[in-house]
């Protein structure tokens, strides 16, 4: 169960108004950058061009929605964050922000983003945005994260919605390509997060989060990483094989996916249990971010060639 922020964090100064930098940190800007980028790419890859003002607003709504969901996550997990070295400095566990302020900010951003998306794009895009916020804030954060080592597998769907939202904002309908892009991110999330959780395993164990390396051990996790990377690679190449994209995207996807699978196999071969010896895991984690940025970037380039 969720502990109160006051249980574990430094007590915030109630009279001191929130600093905007702390509110901004609450939106998880680094995570948001990938979400915004994939959402923008989904929008640009759509066959129907969107009015620039409406396109800007749609991407802004994706960013605000992701920020709202991230803030809801940080509000709910403040007690966990206080126990992990990686997250101790966040505004809530550090006591720089009052939980009520954080909650009001998170709910405001979430509702505002959906309303604005409905105004600028269409009902379907707004509905999918609302589902993605709900998925991250409730299904993943509240329901799954503290209960099952499969948290990241099911919860990964939340981060897979942005390209679909971008596409639907532009076209008003769901097609095969954005569904494949959704599946790509959905299958990319477990290897990406498990690579990270392998070398910060002690942090998750200390906080009592049942991440796969904590519950099933490093060897099992490495096997799962390798297993997930195969269908993920297939999803990355599928748009080209199905004739939905050109050769520029196809060949880039083949090349990058081969590197991804190669790095996953290197992780599988590694037997280290100490973070200092987890070079392959750190390499895979770093490359996985580059992989997604590059694939979506090339998808847009390919669309305009």
């Amino acid at each position: 169960m969720r502990g109160t922020v006051m249980d574990t964090a430094a007590a915030p100064t109630r009279d001191l108004p929130a600093d905007w930098r702390d509110l901004f940190a609450l939106t998880k800007p680094r995570v948001m950058s990938l979400v915004v980028f994939t959402g923008l790419c989904g929008l640009l890859a759509a066959p129907e061009p969107m009015h620039p003002v409406l396109a800007f607003t749609a991407v802004l709504c994706i960013a605000l929605g992701a920020g709202g969901a991230g803030a809801l996550n940080m509000w709910y997990e403040a007690d966990l964050d206080a126990k992990m070295r990686r997250t101790q400095g966040r505004p809530l566990p550090a006591g720089r922000l009052h939980p009520t302020t954080a909650l009001q900010f998170a709910v405001g951003l979430s509702i505002g983003s959906v309303v604005l998306m409905d105004l600028a794009a269409n009902h379907l895009a707004a509905a999918i945005l609302a589902i993605s916020i709900f998925f991250y804030a409730v299904i993943y954060t509240v329901w799954l994260k503290r209960r099952t080592p499969q948290n990241i597998v099911i919860g990964g769907a939340a981060g897979a919605f942005p390209p679909l939202i971008g596409w639907v904002a532009a076209t008003g309908s769901i097609d095969l390509l954005p569904v494949l892009l959704f599946l790509l991110i959905f299958l990319w999330t477990p290897p990406h997060f498990w690579a990270l959780s392998l070398f910060v395993r002690s942090d998750y164990a200390a906080a009592g989060v049942p991440m796969l390396p904590v519950v099933a051990g490093p060897e099992n996790t490495r096997r799962q990483i390798a297993l997930y990377s195969l269908p993920m690679a297939a999803c990355a190449v599928a748009p080209w094989l199905l004739g939905l994209t050109g050769a520029v995207y196809g060949l880039t996807a083949v090349l990058l996916s081969l590197v991804f699978v190669g790095l996953s196999l290197a992780v599988l071969a590694n037997k280290a249990t100490e973070p200092a010896q987890m070079g392959p895991e750190k390499k895979l984690f770093g490359f996985s971010i580059l992989y997604l940025f590059a694939l979506f970037g090339v998808l847009v380039v390919d669309r305009f060639l």
Binding site: D15, L16, P17, A18, D19, W20, H51, P52, V53, L54, T57, L60, L116, L119, A120
Partner: protein, 43 residues
């Protein structure tokens, strides 16, 4: 509460008021632009 605390609170309040004003202005401008864009698209 010391004078330093009081000054810090007032400075934060001023900054918060300024940021809120800017955000409200941006929201109004954006709503106006969305309306114009929708009219253009639907024409």
């Amino acid at each position: 509460m010391s004078r330093h605390d009081d000054e810090l609170i007032r400075a934060r309040q001023r900054r918060a008021a300024r940021v809120t004003a800017m955000l409200l202005f941006a929201f109004i401008a954006l709503t106006f632009l969305i309306t114009i864009a929708k009219l253009t698209v639907n024409r």
